[in-house]
């Protein structure tokens, strides 16, 4: 089958929905209301059927490709085979945005297949900057990098996370995918001011926002939030999103839900809530 797409379609400044395999058929058959979709790139690396399905979705909606497996922060080099697969998928799907994470997940031949935190050191920053430059050169486009949820901090970190994120964008020219839920989760887990984090983000560089639900781990001495993507966005995260919209301006915003995936209508309702905040008139406070 020949590609029938007619050039990339950019992602609108609206609330989109993370599209996961359980809803693919529904989206193709019923073409439900949604401003745009984001998918995990790796779900479409193998399997002709899967890529064919995504092409069909892409004919009807703008699509963003979100990677979870490139392991940009690995000390021992870039995973070129993975990058080549991503490149082929981009050629075929012509996504509006391409994103990855500020993290690592593999070392040597071992892939832990998770988004693992980096130490926030000059060495890690140099590594990330260099990798992002190579990837952007290879793909011939700017990519977005996302801040991640984490459950530990390394004692030899020397740079606050928000400064690390901002510096990565400044030095590599990459855009930022600001996950507001991840900011909140980390602010609780590591004890920092979530609002200050948002204020430290370069507004021009932030090209997308993520929203998702998290879970609190019980029976521990201190609160520990886990980025489970298995429920609605929490009130605290909505409040932080509201602040982010005011400070950074409205951005393409995505509802992520990856476990215990609900009816599509629930995702639409979450997206509608995000839309309300994105397009609300700025309140004048006395």
């Amino acid at each position: 089958m020949e590609p029938t797409l007619s050039g990339p379609v950019s992602i609108p400044v609206r609330a989109g929905i993370g599209l996961r395999p359980p809803h693919m058929a529904l989206v193709m058959d019923e073409k439900p209301d949604a401003h745009w979709f984001e998918v995990h790139s790796e779900n479409f690396f193998g399997g002709i059927e899967m890529i064919g399905l995504l092409e069909r979705v892409r004919r009807d909606y703008p699509v963003s490709l979100h990677g979870v497996g490139l392991s940009l922060g690995s000390a021992d080099g870039l995973r070129m085979a993975h990058l080549e697969k991503l490149s082929r998928l981009i050629e075929r799907i012509e996504p509006g945005l391409v994103s990855e994470h500020i993290c690592w997940g593999a070392i040597g031949n071992v892939h832990l297949n998770e988004l693992l935190p980096l130490p926030y050191t000059e060495e890690a920053l140099d590594t990330m900057v260099e990798r992002v430059l190579v990837v952007q050169e290879f793909l011939g486009r700017r990519i977005l990098l996302e801040n991640l949820s984490s459950y530990l901090e390394f004692s030899h970190s020397t740079i606050p996370e928000w400064e690390f994120v901002a510096a990565l964008s400044r030095r590599s020219g990459c855009g930022l995918l600001l996950d507001v839920n991840n900011v909140y989760v980390n602010s609780i887990n590591h004890g920092f001011d979530a609002e200050a984090y948002i204020r430290a983000m370069p507004a021009d560089a932030v090209a997308e926002i993520h929203l998702a639900g998290h879970t609190r781990k019980e029976h521990l001495n201190v609160p520990l939030l886990i980025d489970t993507h298995d429920r609605r966005v929490s009130p605290e995260v909505w409040a932080l999103f509201d602040l982010a919209v005011r400070l950074l301006g409205p951005k393409p915003t995505l509802i992520e839900w990856d476990q215990q995936i609900p009816d599509f209508s629930v995702l639409q309702a979450e997206a509608a809530l995000a839309e309300e905040l994105m397009h609300a008139p700025i309140a004048i406070t006395a």
Binding site: G47, E49, L70, D76, H82, K85, L112, L152, I226
Partner: protein, 256 residues
């Protein structure tokens, strides 16, 4: 572990902390109200759950045959023995059959590894690349010649001393009559049919013929393999099956 490890040292120690019994990285983690080990354990659990879920999806028959508890023990040990080597989780679990074949607690289930082999073949068939089928009018004339018959990349063959296709079907839809394990081995052709995986048992000469083709033998050499023990081989029947399901993608002449 130095107090300020390099990125490489840190990532190696992190991986060891995920896959081993200990936490060599604990000294480099801020406790912040918890034990450093507790924080690392959160990650170890997440890594383990992800890996186990992938195996659960890829090996539903093995799971049904051994049950949740046994399966999660096997999955944990498998991760430590054969950690993932790919950023794409669809690749994880390729060695599960080999692992089960030598797992001491699984030795009494001597068919289990072959069931796992069949399930991995099913997944490979599903994920294989596309190929245009052969124009069937070309196929009639080439039987038993020096030509090479290329099967589609999604075609796999699993040969077992056990009735693994029957076992697989039973595991997915158990029947009240139970299942007899004494019915002898099965040879199973696996391929993708639209968006489903298809399986069909074939006889031993046919399986020898297919195995030879997959290894790259010419038609006449494959025929010799199929009939090497002088059992009857219905070549025409097998070719008809392959054509019917459009499993042949090319007929080539090799000079080697």
């Amino acid at each position: 572990m130095p107090q300020s490890p390099s990125l490489l040292e840190l990532q190696r120690a992190f991986a060891d902390s995920m896959l081993g019994e200990h936490y060599p990285l604990a000294a480099c983690v801020r406790p912040h109200g918890l034990k450093a080990e507790q924080r690392l354990q959160v990650y170890r659990n997440i890594v383990m759950i992800t890996a186990t879920d992938v195996l659960r999806t890829s090996y539903p028959a093995v799971l049904a045959l051994v049950g949740e508890e046994f399966f999660s023990v096997a999955a944990t040990r498998y991760l430590r023995t054969y950690p993932s080597q790919s950023g794409n989780l669809q690749d994880y679990g390729a060695h599960f059959a080999d692992f089960l074949a030598v797992m001491p607690e699984a030795l009494s289930l001597d068919y289990l590894a072959d069931v796992a082999r069949l399930e991995w073949a099913r997944q490979q068939a599903y994920l294989a690349g596309e190929s245009a089928p052969l124009d069937s009018s070309r196929a009639g004339a080439v039987v038993n010649s020096g030509l090479h018959l290329l099967l589609r990349p999604d075609v796999h063959l699993i040969s077992s001393l056990h009735p693994v296709l029957d076992i697989w079907r039973f595991s997915q839809a158990p029947s009240p009559e139970g299942l007899s394990l004494g019915t002898g081995g099965q040879h199973i052709l696996v391929w993708r049919d639209k968006d489903q995986v298809a399986m069909q048992a074939i006889d031993q000469p046919a399986s020898r013929f297919i195995a030879a083709l997959i290894e790259g033998a010419s038609m006449d050499k494959a025929y010799a393999k199929a009939t090497e023990d002088e059992t009857e081989f219905d070549l025409q029947g097998l070719i008809t099956l392959l054509l019917h399901h459009q499993l042949i993608c090319a007929i080539e002449e090799h000079t080697t």
